[in-house]
Amino acid sequence: MDAKDILGLPKAPLSLPQEKKSRPPKDSQRKPDGISREVYALTGGIAPLMPAIDISQWKRRAQSENQKEYAFKISTILTLPLQITWQWLPFTSSARNDNLQLYHWVRVVNGVPPTGDYSFAKYNKSVDVIKYTDEEYEKYLTDPTWTKEETDQLFDLCQRFDLRFVVVADRFQSSRTVEELKNRYYSVSRALLTARAVSPADVSGHPFIKEPYNLSQEIERKRALSMVLSQTKHQERRDAEVLAEAKRISESRMAAKASVFFLLFLLILLILALEPNLFAQYFLSAFNCSQAVQEPEFPVTLPVDPEIAGDSSPPDVPYPSGIVAPPVAETASVSASLRMLRVYLRTYALEQMVQAASSSAGLRTIKRVEQTLQDLGVNLKPKVLTKAVCAEHLELRKEILTLLNLQKQLQYKEAEGSSYRDGSYAETPGTPKHSQRAADQDRTFIPDSISFGGIKLLSTLIVSTISL
């Protein structure tokens, strides 16, 4: 591009087609002077894309020293209308408000210097800072913490430094923070805008009015940022050390709990594997009411418990309510879910177990169970939750459930039996029914009393343990 400029050639090869048309018919007949035929044949016998200077012409003009003439002559040879020179000319810029004339190199085309403003003057942009008069200041802009001189100086600096508040704060005479300066500037501008506006609706869209400068928020933000940035490496190292230490302690605690839990689990499995008889015995006793009546001593604690307690008593001590040895009498699913949690409260465990136990029964039955519990004087939720109490409570519930189921069955059987008897006595509806009902009631009552008795024994024992 530059080479073409220097030679004064057009940017696009406009004149080429003309040249090409005129050249080929000429060249086929003769070769140009100055170079031998063979050399010319090397070029392919056709004119090059960039027309080279014809040597014969050049020799004639070799004496010419003036660059302008030279360019002019070349342009005439190549029949081009443009001639380009570079001249050292003065210029002015509209960005300046005096008439300083500096010099620079200018590209002159055909002897006509370029017109128009200095090409860099368009980059002279500045910020629009609102100016106020003295009356306006008196009317709207007075502030107890700011004097007029300070406000004037602030606006002058803002104009000079194009609202670079950091620099303005640096050059300000009295030491004010950047936030104070910003606050003053924005509040003054806002007041002026609202004062000068024809109606409030005009300026409501202006960013000064829509989003006012929040001084307290800025101060807080900067304070926090400065705290972050002013922490030295020593402090940070200490902080990191403390955090690491805390993490280690918490991890060790978790590890201890996990190990205890894990140990219990292992022991249970071990015992399950080694001594299944114990468990079988327990299951039988739990679901057999009569046997429960016969054996006043209840399997208060699991047979495994003393062993486990003995093994793991030291870590057990600080966590009395934390770890629960899963009661073996419980369904496997509940105990499995409890084992998933490393730490849980006994109340939660009890609830889970109650739910599991009563899942087979309907809602009414559960209500009856609870009613029965209340009749016996046992709380629905035992107050003091120790292992023994929980186990007893669950057992009681199960037994009540069993009792109710049995009662129901008995009633059905009685009803069947009575329906058979009813079928035989057809004439006397009144008295015999009455007598039968009484008999029924008597009959039904007896099992109740028997079962009640057993349950009553259970409940009294629970109450006694609670009172202990």
Binding site: S93, L100, L102, H104, F120, V167, D170, S226, L229, K233
Partner: protein, 459 residues
């Protein structure tokens, strides 16, 4: 260059150790010479002019008799009887305004005037303009001038500079730019923290959006020349004296073998002797000294292998721990007290702080929002900053002291000469920009508003 427009401005950076001058738009200054002048009081008023001796000299017309000033390393290298070497800078303030004399490929400098009268010149002397038209090969009337000034220049000094340039040299336009801003522009940044460690002092200045934040500028009197003096004293305490270049002659007695003959020159001034010694010592410092990786302490560096250095008089000296001790003075100024002979500087050194501390202090004085950006663009400039390993040591120290949240990055151009001339290069870039041409402080504006207007025009 799309943003560039050459107006053949001249960029002038008068440093405390060297002055750099050249045309704007070029990538290195044409004229680099020491900022000292040799002054010779002439007892006789009319001395026959000898062209060879007076090359580079100019007659300074004072009422008390003529005084010849010799400027330039060539002129200063030639020893003359009774020639005093005076520093052109005093405490960072330009005492002499050196006039540029650009002549095709070489530069000759003519000292013309004093800006701030020193004690040796009577106060009622008014600087008189002597017609130097015949010596000038460049007419200052045709070239706008860009002067680089220290980052903490007072209003009075700036006005004085403007006065001299407009009244005396009739420049068409002038601009005073701060050193830190020019260094920042030379590295292509508008916001940075500039650590300028030059000959006379070290200045740390934060630049935000092209403006120096003056309330956060920190200076320290420890510079390259201070370190050179430390080195001289340290060598003297070890019994090694540096013989100035002029004080001996080397004769070749056998092919390849030289013998040194001491010359007896009683009329040489003390200041000239000191100056010559300094030249040699600063060469030693530049060749041999390196910034240590860890703070210097006597015990760890006591067994370090010595590096040999050959002095101009043929003597070879061994330098060991001093290699690391001297640069560490920048980081730990209290080390000066351990160097015997430097006790007089102990007070100045004790008040100064080390380089990393000054950087952190300076940043903490700035607004919180820009601190991160400043940390991540710390620029090194100046002659002393081209010392080996200085950048790495500074980065390491800053990482230690700075907060975790900030990412610290120390930048320095790889080329050592670029570090030395970064202020000048920045000026060259600035003065050749198209959009800068509207910012000149022109003569007509000076005539209209006075010298105080410079405060507005050159922020």
């Amino acid at each position: 260059m799309y943003g560039g427009d050459e107006v053949s401005a001249i960029v002038l950076d008068l440093g405390s150790h060297t002055c750099k001058a050249g045309y704007a738009g070029e990538d290195a200054p044409k004229a680099v010479f020491p900022s000292v002048v040799g002054s010779l009081d002439q007892m006789e008023v009319d001395e026959p002019d000898e062209p060879e001796k007076n090359s580079g000299a100019v007659l300074d017309t004072k009422s008390k008799g003529k005084r010849k000033l010799y400027v330039g390393s060539q002129a200063l290298g030639f020893r003359r009887d009774y020639m005093e070497v005076l520093s052109a800078m005093k405490d960072g303030v330009v005492k002499f305004l050196l006039h540029l004399h650009l002549h095709l490929h070489t530069v000759r400098v003519l000292a013309v005037d004093t800006l701030v009268p020193s004690a040796s010149v009577l106060k009622k002397d008014r600087p008189r303009f002597r017609d130097l038209g015949e010596c000038l090969l460049v007419d200052p009337k045709e070239h706008p001038m860009l002067l680089a000034e220290p980052s903490s220049n007072t209003q009075q000094q700036r006005e004085k500079a403007a006065e001299i340039m407009f009244e005396k040299y009739q420049v068409p336009a002038l601009f005073l730019a701060k050193n830190a801003v020019l260094t920042s522009f030379a590295s292509g940044r508008a916001t940075s923290l500039v650590v300028d460690s030059g000959g006379g002092s070290t200045t740390i200045a934060p630049v935000h959006d092209g403006y120096v934040l003056q309330k956060a500028v920190a200076t320290s009197p420890i510079g390259g020349e201070f370190l050179t003096d430390c080195l001289i004293k340290s060598l003297e305490s070890k019994g090694l004296t540096i013989k100035p270049r002029y004080s001996f002659k080397r004769k070749e007695i056998r092919p390849g073998e030289f013998q040194t003959v001491d010359l007896y020159l009683p009329d040489t001034t003390e200041s000239y002797k000191l100056y010559s010694q300094r030249v040699i010592a600063s060469d030693i410092k530049e060749c041999v000294c390196r910034a240590p990786d860890t703070p210097y302490d006597e015990s760890s560096y006591s067994n370090i292998p010595m590096t040999p250095y050959e002095l101009p008089d043929g003597q070879t000296i061994e330098i060991g721990a001093d290699r690391f001790k001297i640069p560490d003075v920048l980081f730990n100024p209290s080390l000066v007290q351990t160097i015997p002979g430097m006790e007089s500087y102990a007070e100045t050194a004790s008040s100064a702080r080390g380089l990393p501390q000054m950087v952190i202090e300076s940043i903490n004085k700035c607004d919180v929002d820009i601190r991160r950006e400043l940390f991540s663009s710390v620029l090194l400039a100046g002659g002393t900053a081209s010392m080996q390993q200085l950048k790495e040591r500074l980065e390491k120290d800053l990482l230690e002291e700075s907060p975790q949240a900030a990412r610290v990055k120390v930048l320095a151009s790889g080329n050592a000469t670029e570090r030395r001339f970064s202020v000048w290069i920045g000026g060259s870039i600035l003065a050749s920009l198209g959009s800068f041409q509207q910012m000149w402080f022109s003569k007509s504006e000076y005539e209209e508003h006075g010298a105080a207007y410079i405060q507005r025009k050159c922020p």
